[in-house]
Amino acid sequence: MTTADRRKERLDRGIKVRSDGIYALLSWRELGYLVLPRLVLIAGLLLLPLVVPSLYWQRVISNVCLYALLALSFDFLAHYVGLVSLGGALFIGTGAYIAALLNKNLGLPLILTIPMASVSGAAICTLLLLPCLPLRGVYFAIVSLMYPLAMMRIIEALNIFGGTDGIMGIDSFPNHWVEQYFVLIMVLLFLFGLRRLVNLDIGLVFRGVKDNDQAVRASGMSITYYKAVAVFIASAIGCLAGACLTHIYMFSGISLFALDFSILPIAATVIGGGGTLAGPVIGCFILVPISELLREFGTLRIAFYAIILMAFIVFKSEGLMVYGQRKYHQFERWVKI
């Protein structure tokens, strides 16, 4: 039969409807239905460093987490505030350089440099992006893409912060367990933190700015202010990732403004499903290891990478997480028209 005489009907599962309210707490089955997916994710992430075989792949886990933080910040800005930001590399670079300078020049330990780099880096990124906040959609994307490129050239041309050589000899994490568990816990913290935030009242204002900024203005709120707050939150996450990166590799250089940091989080969001926050994290856990596996193919891996992305965009454009949520919450059946 073709779609001409039948169509797919989707219905919420009874358990989904029942567990929407507070009554879910009254039965183990419904409690399990709510908690299980989250528990699997949390436990899976926390067990990952224990089951991964080699040191090389443990380093990959840290890498994945840094990209996951960036993807979270991209997804939050793009799908909850309406700012499509290609400034991931700006966040990474700013956070990395601040952490490196604090550590190298002032001799601060990394327990101080990471939070300081996140907050001050976020302040700097927000100030830099402030003039572009009235822009929307693709226009904001273009301008935010310019920033990391400009920063790279400025550092190169003025020969500041170590110029093209970068800053070396930065303190590393005490050991690889601390490193991995720190970044993993940060990913979980910001994943669930952002999911909570977008459903708070201030989160609704962010979503209002995305949905309909004129109505927010008519309600007596400055949209530029709320966009700036959102950019601060997102860039703090990005700068945190940058600061961790510089301590993991014990190096900070202009390569940290590379466009990979802007592009890969977007690809991960496409694969994982935009607007779900958990999706982009899952997307990173798929994309970054694939890119490592394909490393031996040399430059050909870009081609494989492109094929995977294209396949996702053509066949599953909604993203894995949206697809998974639908299968989990709804059942489908064919009905005759």
Binding site: D201, G208, A215, R217, A218, S219, G220, S222
Partner: protein, 262 residues
Amino acid sequence: MSESPMLHVEEATKVFGGILALNRVTFDVHQGEILGIIGPNGSGKTTLINCITGFVRMTSGKVFFKGRDITGKPAHKIADLGVTRTFQIMRPYYTLPAYKNLVIPLFSPRAKRTGGWRGGGKLGDRDTVGIDILEEIGFERDSFVPYKLASSLPTGYLKRLELARCLALKPEIILCDEVFSGLSMSEIASMVPLIERLQMDGITLIMIEHRLRELFRVASRVMVLNFGEKLLEGRPEEVMADERVKTAYFGSEEVEEVMTYA
């Protein structure tokens, strides 16, 4: 009407490129009054509201709210003073349920100041205040309507939601841009008492309207715009009787129909 007017607009002029959208429009609105603004399409009614509320910058002219100059202030500052507006093309937050739509205005600085417990009423919960406002404006509380996504609501409810968004700010004056348009006769019939109640609550209203019959029932004064100029201003029956209005605006049959109704 001896005290200083609520809103005083002086020689409002707006030029879009070479088009004179508003040409030196001057008028007053007093406390507790309902001023109707009518005029043919493209006569500058919506532009006038946009200019007053700061969504569009006036070319020249002044706006005073309670004797205070608000010309050229940003839109959110003007709304913060209590000068609120609805949009002709409804602008709800489509991805949110109806009552969550009101959480956003309730989060604004003005609602936090005026609404008690930072906009959340006695319980400090903006959701319940939102549902209360929706009930006041005609959403049935115990039905599922307030909980539905704004994207699935019919026009009548969306128009009410526009008004509700203004009410959440505890406004002094609401500028309504065609709240009756696109509604069925029965929906309009249920909206009219709502407007009357807003007036009884002491809210001043400016209403742009094409539904003359309903407008003339509620409005205390009517101003007629034509090609961006103020044609005349007066009580509804005076405006109806004026020859210039008839030729500029109405089909003669409609005037007769309205007159017999009045």
